[in-house]
C-alpha cells in the first residue's frame, strides 16, 4: 500500500484531548498549591516517615536483618560473659581449696616432726 507524505501528515495530525484534560491538569495544579501551602505538622513527620518506610520493603528488610544480627550478637556476647564469670568463680574456689589443703598438710608435717607437742 502506498501513501504520500501528506497522508502521513493527516494521519498524525494533532488531536485535542478536550476541555476535560485542561480541567484535570488544573485540578492537579490546585492540589499541588494546597500541598505547598499546608505547613507540615511535627506530629505528621513520623507518620510520613512510616509511610515512606512502608514503601521501601528492601530498606525495611535490611533494617530487620540488622536488628536480628545485632540481637544475636548481643546474646552470644552475654553468654560468653556469663561463662567467663563462672570460670573466674571456679578458679577462686580451686585456689581456696589448694590453700586449705596446703595449710592442712603443713599442720600434718608439723605433727609428724614433733609428735610430743600437744595441741
Amino acid at each position: 500500500m502506498h501513501f504520500s507524505e501528506d497522508e502521513l501528515r493527516e494521519a498524525l495530525r494533532r488531536r485535542d484531548p478536550g476541555e476535560a484534560f485542561t480541567q484535570k491538569v488544573m485540578e492537579r495544579v490546585a492540589q499541588q498549591q494546597t500541598r505547598a501551602l499546608t505547613p507540615s505538622r511535627p506530629g505528621n513527620r513520623f507518620v510520613e516517615f512510616w509511610h515512606g518506610m512502608r514503601l521501601r520493603p528492601v530498606l525495611v528488610g535490611a533494617i530487620v536483618a540488622l536488628l536480628a544480627l545485632g540481637g544475636s550478637l548481643g546474646v552470644v556476647q552475654y553468654r560468653r560473659a556469663q561463662e567467663e564469670r563462672a570460670g573466674e568463680a571456679a578458679k577462686r574456689q580451686a585456689f581456696l581449696a589448694l590453700r586449705i589443703t596446703n595449710a592442712k598438710l603443713n599442720h600434718v608435717f608439723e605433727r609428724a616432726k614433733n609428735p610430743q607437742v600437744r595441741e
Partner: protein
C-alpha cells in the same frame, strides 16, 4: 501568549489554563502517537504540564515555552518506553476517543498509518512523529532528540521504508484473511 505567560508566572491560574489549552493538543498527540495508548498519553500530558507549572520561572518567552513543552513531552515518552521496555505490537487504543476523532478526514488509511507508526522502533517512531505531526525541520529534530543530523536523516529514511513494508504486509494479510 506572552501576557498569559507573564500572568501565569504571577500565580494567575486562568492564565496557566490558557497555556495548557494552547499546548495540550501537541503534548497529548506526541504521547498518543508514541505510546499508542490514549490513557497513558493523558497521564503523561498531565505530568508534563505539572512540570511546566513548577518551572514557569525558567521559561523566557512564548516560543521558548513551546520548545520546552515539546522537549519535555518527547523525553518523557522516551523515558516511559525505556522504563517499561515498551514496544507496541497491538494496534493503537481506539477505545478512548479523543475530541478530534470521528472527523470525516479520518480515513481507513489514516487509521492504518497510525497503527503502523505505533509499531515502529522507538527512535524511528519519534522521528516520524516530530517530522509529520510537529512538522519540524530535520535540524530541529536532531536538536530535540540530541542526535546528529545525519542519524536523523537515516532514521527517517529507514522509518518510512519500514512503514511502507509493514503497511504492505498488513494489506496482504488482510486480503488472505478476507478471501
Amino acid at each position: 501568549m506572552e501576557t498569559a505567560l507573564q500572568r501565569a508566572r504571577q500565580g494567575d491560574n486562568s492564565a496557566f489554563a490558557e497555556i495548557v489549552r494552547e499546548h495540550q493538543g501537541m503534548v497529548f498527540s506526541i504521547g498518543w502517537h508514541y505510546l499508542g495508548d490514549a490513557w497513558l498519553a493523558e497521564d503523561l500530558g498531565q505530568e508534563v504540564f505539572l512540570q511546566l507549572y513548577q518551572n514557569l520561572g525558567a521559561i523566557q518567552s512564548a516560543s521558548h515555552l513551546g520548545h520546552w513543552v515539546r522537549r519535555v513531552a518527547v523525553h518523557r515518552c522516551i523515558d516511559h518506553s525505556r522504563r517499561k521496555y515498551f514496544r507496541r505490537e497491538a494496534p493503537l487504543d481506539e477505545s478512548h476517543e479523543v475530541a478530534a476523532n470521528g472527523n470525516p478526514g479520518d480515513s481507513f488509511l489514516s487509521a492504518r498509518l497510525r497503527q503502523t507508526v505505533a509499531q515502529l522502533r522507538e527512535k524511528e517512531r519519534m522521528v516520524v512523529i516530530l517530522r509529520y505531526q510537529e512538522e519540524l525541520e530535520l535540524a530541529e529534530i536532531a536538536e530535540a532528540l540530541n542526535m546528529p543530523l545525519n542519524t536523523v536523516k537515516s532514521t527517517l529514511f529507514r522509518a518510512l521504508h519500514n512503514l511502507r513494508g509493514k503497511l504492505t504486509r498488513k494489506v496482504k494479510e488482510a486480503r488472505y484473511a478476507f478471501f
